[in-house]
Symmetry: C2
Subunit: 230 residues, 2 copies
């Protein structure tokens, strides 16, 4: 109830940001966006799409070794802001993607590091948590990520309390979700927590989406043979 | 087996097109795109994003009555082609969205009408079937759509054999799926049919997506009290 009072007092989040970078994973971003697009019909909300520059940002592979057959297949989204002029945000959403293996993303990490203290909520999907981890924000916190890249994630930031078996994890105001599709379940749970469970259910039905409402549901951790959490 | 021989003889689809229009539904497009983005690592594939003009196309509501709180929330994608220069396609994917209630989409219907005869496959998601229906392509065929707008769909084109209880429907080379999220199940089933079930399973696991593999699975038809199919 204390949480409820706080939310009422501070008001609901209005200003959302979606961080994008080259070779982001489409569904990591657009699963949550579809949910929030629908929510924005019932609540006044603004979205900023934020990238290092204002050039369209593509899901296509930058690393040719990940595109051995030279497919020309991907989608580009248009940023509304860059790191120099992004507005104050209540919620920042960070998708994952193969692009986070690149080694030229220091400005991305710096943006998240300096933006986090003024956020009400941070939501990461799949290995989007790598950005938060590298920004030092997850140290000492419980967090999860996609299950196929588990060992790599642990190496990237051993100081995080990584949870192997979870569809999503909430620690304080940080929501981290498992791989790709899990971002939809985490975002619907976030909507349920912040805007009420009825709204989350209503949106899932409009989307004809069968939610996983249990954050510990994770058959994929077993498929990838991840160890039990201690 | 006859189908298998035909596929081998003709070869797998290479050139995909995604049709977009103002106020398309994000997940209708990007659920299937995420699947095909992953598939394009293993098969040579090209994607054209096709719209009436080359201007970025947004999910934002054009109709202010659908955005009563004046939210400024949406995402824009960049077309690669317009209707005048779209390349020959093997597969055309048509998302749905509130934007299909507009009455200025004749050029969209004409594009689909003239493109369909040379396609190997047409895939529609949610009320994206309205485009195919209005282009006259679905007449006499079995098809489905989202369940919240069922009566409107039937009025739009009574000559289609609309299937009320279905996650997706295949009739000939036309795949129509139910609402929003159903596009992912239909696309994974399409991948299973055309590229092999092992590949579909592999992609679903990478996406950490729990598929519905039964095309008759449809609790949403019941939620919306749709009549039994006769």
């Amino acid at each position: 109830m204390a949480t409820e009072s706080l939310k009422t007092k501070e008001g609901l989040p209005v200003n959302y940001g979606l961080l994008v970078f080259p070779t982001f994973q489409a569904l990591d971003a657009f699963g949550p966006m579809d949910i929030l697009n629908l929510l924005s019909r019932d609540y006044p909300m603004n979205l900023s799409i934020i990238a290092q520059t204002l050039e369209p940002v593509s899901t296509k592979h930058r690393d040719p070794s990940l595109n051995p057959l030279r497919s020309n297949f991907g989608e580009s989204v248009v940023p509304t802001h860059d790191f120099s002029n992004a507005p104050p945000l209540d919620v920042l959403i960070i998708p994952g993607g193969y692009g986070l293996a690149a080694n030229d993303l220091d400005l991305v990490y710096e943006f998240v590091k300096r933006t986090y203290p003024s956020l009400k909520y941070l939501i990461t999907i799949c290995n989007g948590c790598w950005v938060a981890a590298r920004a030092g924000i997850l140290d000492g916190k419980r967090a999860t990520t996609n299950k196929s890249g588990w060992e790599m994630t642990k190496e990237i930031r051993p100081d995080v309390n990584w949870v192997a078996h979870a569809r999503w994890v909430v620690d304080g105001n940080i929501w981290t979700s498992s791989g790709v599709s899990a971002g939809m379940d985490a975002t619907l749970a976030f909507v349920g927590e912040v805007y009420g469970e009825e709204k989350a259910k209503e949106i899932a039905i409009v989307m004809e989406y069968e939610r996983h409402e249990d954050p510990s549901w994770d058959p994929f951790a077993d498929i990838y043979n991840l160890p039990k959490d201690t």
